[in-house]
């Protein structure tokens, strides 16, 4: 059995107890990647083996000296390719950043490295995190480990497929409108999008700055809590970083939901939701009820306005954020041009892919004079109303329960022709980003096609512990299902 079939916590424990060395953990992970990468394409870049082994030695030494004793010391981790790491190719899965090697490391990654985790490589994603399928990557689509004809979801598709295929034990993703939660659901793994401002965005290549958050992807809730605890920090380098309490997320890993009030929005179970997904998510709610949680259906309101508001805001911010890619300071520059402006235009037009250009165009339009009030400000006002709806809900409930996505993973090639349809798939996730809330997605069943279904729990701002505790309690009732690309996969799917 490959060590990548373990959880991060289990692997860290074996390293700590000297049952295995850090080098073995790194070598095993590299072997797993080499063996499976042809099939899934989870990675854009795998770190240099010699450099990794050198780092493994350093970490091993520190563990021996006792200067590194945390649960993630020596654990290899994959990082989504939109986080800068000093000396490691960072592309955002875009041609415009081909060959870009950052001179500094993202704060979240630095926190992991300080804890002794070893970055094994950079995972594939939708170009600039714009997409829900990981098909818009300039470096080829990623496949779903449960069925290679299906997408892994997106935009953190590589991080989720990497964990599900057991090429690595855990990963970092980023979530602007569901980009951790939706691919986690599609790949049968667990992912958390924390409260806005909990994890520093320093070194995260911005898409929609007011919505972006980095978060963990792993096999279980325990690993996610552990990683989130490690990457969360107040950071002066990110002006939206929050000084906040209650970052000891692992203290919430308790198998107890007695008396917890869970609101179930009727609007989340209406038209457009796949029947099998609905059934599985309702089944999970029932399990929590049997364990003592108090369920209540309610009307959340404004659900259908979240997607239009989200796309206006996200695209507006993207059009501004992506103005920095101009062929001057880094990345792709076209070979032939006439003058400065032509160089900008041609470099950007050749460097960006279709979906990125589509969103930059829309964003530029809604911010242009004459349309700014009608679209951009209107979306920001809608956002305020959506936040109010959630405030109302959280005055009554400890958390909200619903699906992570309206269906299981679609087939490769079936989404990009109809972008509107793809955008509508974000219905259960985008409002969480608009309101800055934490959300977790975890497996709650399989459909008849053998594809995983994801349960989403949404908490009030700063209340990650509520959703972690409920998710953990639910997880305690079931076993982890290893994907067909796992060494320990069994038909029927139990460990």
């Amino acid at each position: 059995m490959s060590l990548t079939s373990l959880t991060a916590k289990e692997l860290g424990k074996k390293i700590k107890e000297k049952e295995i060395s850090v080098k073995e953990a790194v070598n095993d992970t590299l072997d797993a990647i080499e063996k499976k990468e042809d099939k899934v394409n989870s990675f854009v870049t795998v770190a240099d083996k010699d450099a990794l082994l050198k780092k493994a030695e350093e970490v091993q030494k520190k563990i021996g000296e006792g200067t590194l004793g945390g649960p993630l010391a020596g654990v290899p981790i994959a990082v989504k390719d939109n986080m800068c790491i000093k000396g490691l190719l960072t592309t955002c899965s875009s041609k415009i950043l081909e060959g870009f090697v950052p001179s500094y490391t993202a704060e979240a990654v630095k926190n992991l490295e300080d804890a002794g985790a070893i970055v094994i490589g950079k995972t594939n994603m939708d170009e600039f995190a714009m997409g829900s399928t990981t098909e818009t990557s300039a470096y080829g689509a990623t496949k779903n480990p449960w069925n290679l004809d299906h997408v892994p979801g997106g935009s953190s598709g590589g991080s989720c497929s990497g964990v599900a295929a057991e090429e690595c034990v855990c990963a970092l993703g980023s979530d602007t409108g569901g980009s951790i939660r939706q691919p986690s659901a599609f790949c049968g793994v667990t992912g958390i999008k924390p409260t806005y401002g909990t994890v520093s965005r320093y070194g995260l290549i911005a898409y929609g700055s007011s919505l972006d958050q980095i978060g963990p992807v792993a096999k279980d809730v325990t690993d996610c809590a552990l990683i989130l605890e490690t990457i969360s920090s107040y950071d002066r380098k990110d002006s939206t970083s929050m000084k906040r309490e209650g970052l000891d997320f692992t203290s919430a890993l308790k198998d107890d939901v007695k008396g917890m009030k869970i609101g179930i929005p009727r609007d989340y179970f209406g038209e457009g939701l796949d029947g099998e997904v609905s059934q599985a998510v309702k089944g999970a709610a029932k399990v929590l009820e049997e364990k003592g949680a108090v369920l209540e259906e309610f009307d959340l309101g404004l659900v259908e306005y979240a997607i239009p508001a989200y796309y206006v805001i996200a695209c507006a911010e993207a059009s501004s954020n992506l103005a920095r890619f101009d062929g001057v300071k880094y990345g792709y520059r076209v070979k032939e041009y006439e003058g400065l402006h032509n160089m900008y235009k041609k470099s950007r037009s050749e460097g960006f892919g279709t979906e990125v250009k589509r969103r930059i165009m829309l964003g530029s339009f809604v911010l242009s004079s004459g349309y700014y009030d009608a679209y951009y400000l209107k979306a920001l006002r809608t956002k305020a109303l959506i936040k109010k709806e959630f405030d109302k809900a959280f005055s009554k409930y400890d958390m909200i329960l619903g699906p992570a996505a309206p269906s299981t993973a679609p087939k490769l090639g079936s989404s990009l022709d109809d972008p509107m349809k793809m955008y509508l798939g974000d219905i259960y996730t985008v409002s969480v980003n608009l309101a800055g809330l934490p959300g977790i997605s975890l497996p709650c069943g399989m459909d008849k096609k053998g594809l995983p279904i994801g349960l989403q729990l949404i908490g009030d701002c700063f209340q990650e512990k509520n959703i972690i505790q409920a998710a953990y309690a639910y997880e305690c009732t079931r076993e982890y299902r290893h994907s067909p690309l796992s060494d320990v996969y069994q038909v029927g799917g139990r460990r």
Binding site: V101, S210, Y311, G331, F352, K357, L362, A379, R381
Partner: protein
């Protein structure tokens, strides 16, 4: 389709976005944008009068630091990724005639 994007508008947005689209891309962009805007117009059903636009969920202020000069030369790092470098600076096509 309610929203009509004219050739002039696509041209203008292209200038704002610093993108040069091929004739086919322009047609596709028009169609995509019209479709998106039709959908976004759903927001018009909402009465948002008197609602303050919310750019950030939490009250956040800019973070300032003391402006202390230091002697670190980061130019090598900064220029490392540049497509074209000249005399320790980013090289760009001639900008002033």
């Amino acid at each position: 389709m309610a929203n009509q994007i004219s050739d002039d508008t696509i041209e203008y947005v292209g200038i704002l976005a610093k993108l040069e689209l091929s004739p086919q891309e322009k047609e596709r962009a028009k169609k995509d944008m019209e479709e998106m805007l039709d959908y976004i117009d759903k927001l018009n059903e909402l009465d948002v009068s008197g609602v303050e636009p919310m750019s950030h969920v939490f009250p956040v202020n800019n973070v300032f630091r003391e402006d202390i000069p230091t002697d670190i030369d980061g130019s090598k790092d900064a220029l490392f990724n540049a497509p074209s470098v000249k005399n320790g600076g980013f090289e760009v096509p001639k900008t002033i005639g």
